[in-house]
Symmetry: C2
Subunit: 201 residues, 2 copies
DNA sequence: GTCTATACGCGGATAGAC
DNA sequence: GTCTATCCGCGTATAGAC
């Protein structure tokens, strides 16, 4: 909580570079250049590259949590909030075309590097997973089913991101987003039916 | 076509290491050690690392094409063949848990490295895409719809692979594979209805 | 806190002997 | 075709002056 601006700048620059070029391929020199400081100064803030990675993951988690809190405020119903998640694929379309999903690609890379921060990185997926499950639960789904639906939606989002990055086909993404929106609507509508019939009987 | 065994061994070892540790992270020393030759000897077969990458991509494409040809023989109907594709997620489950999808992860990495072989790597996805589209067409789907269905299935396969790699949850994968099988059945059944009604009217 | 200078190993790549 | 020896740049990391 020392509020060091330089440290925050380093983390922000590393976050961006790790996303665009990957963790392993990004060097201290790259980050130092992006921030505008010398390489030596670097080690006053972070002793190892892994420490920077931890800080970047921490920042990414915080950013995603903040985003989900905004969705909570903006969306009046659980369905609206879930659709905010789906819309990431459109809102961040340009970046995904170029660099893929920030969470999926980091997770994949750390898995291949067999990096110790693998588990930490999974908190990113976990944040979305539990949040989505909460929304489905709020929409009337049973606990286990809500978690399955959350995983299904996360899965489709990842799949679309991967193929959008490979094929650069925005129409494909738009089509799949529309299918996801329809799927969410159908799932929650049929549940509503069950909920209503359960009430009336 | 010189039939050099050493060359093939290098490509096979590189294929494996690129998959398990990533292209960038795999060094000449790693490959040389895996094959059991010296680093110097290496350059008699490949002048640059990129040449090895090209050869690995070529091998991967050939392997996948051969696999799809086996599916053509094994499956009597287009639906059977499509389900062979879906079942990769189960058959290769262990490897996917550890290293993800060989195609998706390579594509993502090359995108981040902004590597020239990016386009070549996309032939891997392309091979599955066109083959799946052919199967959907053979099952009675219209040309454009067949391609959309192929992309949809490829998307789901990628999404499942990514989350399977992240969460190591085999039950999740089994559940999603079952959903994909149902989806394939439903899509082809409804099409069959349309085809039948078109015939009888 | 920020800098310069530097250590040291590993990466890709080359030369040339056998 | 296979080897050893070697070049050179870049990577992480450290020491120490300002």
């Amino acid at each position: 909580m020392s509020g060091n601006t330089t440290r925050q700048e380093i983390v922000a620059a590393a976050d961006d570079l790790f996303y665009r070029h990957g963790f392993d391929h990004t060097s201290f020199a790259h980050i130092a250049e992006a921030v505008g400081i010398s390489r030596g100064n670097f080690y006053h803030h972070f002793k190892t590259k892994d420490e920077i990675l931890d800080a970047v993951i921490e920042k990414r988690v915080a950013d995603r949590v903040a985003m989900m809190e905004r969705w909570e405020i903006a969306g009046s119903t659980p369905e609206d909030r879930i659709l905010s998640f789906v819309d990431i694929l459109i809102v961040n379309g340009d970046k995904i075309v170029r660099y893929g999903c920030p969470i999926g690609t980091l997770t994949s890379e750390l898995a291949k590097l067999n990096h110790t921060a693998r588990g930490e990185a999974n908190r990113l997926f976990g944040a979305f997973r539990t949040w989505l499950a909460q929304q489905f639960t709020a929409a009337g789904q049973a606990e286990t089913e809500a978690h399955r639906l959350a995983m299904h939606l996360l899965m489709r989002s990842q799949g679309v991101a991967t193929l959008l990055n490979a094929f650069h086909d925005r129409e494909f993404a738009a089509r799949e987003v529309e299918l996801m929106r329809e799927w969410v609507g159908a799932v929650l509508a049929s549940n509503g039916d069950r909920a209503r019939s359960a009430k009336t009987t």
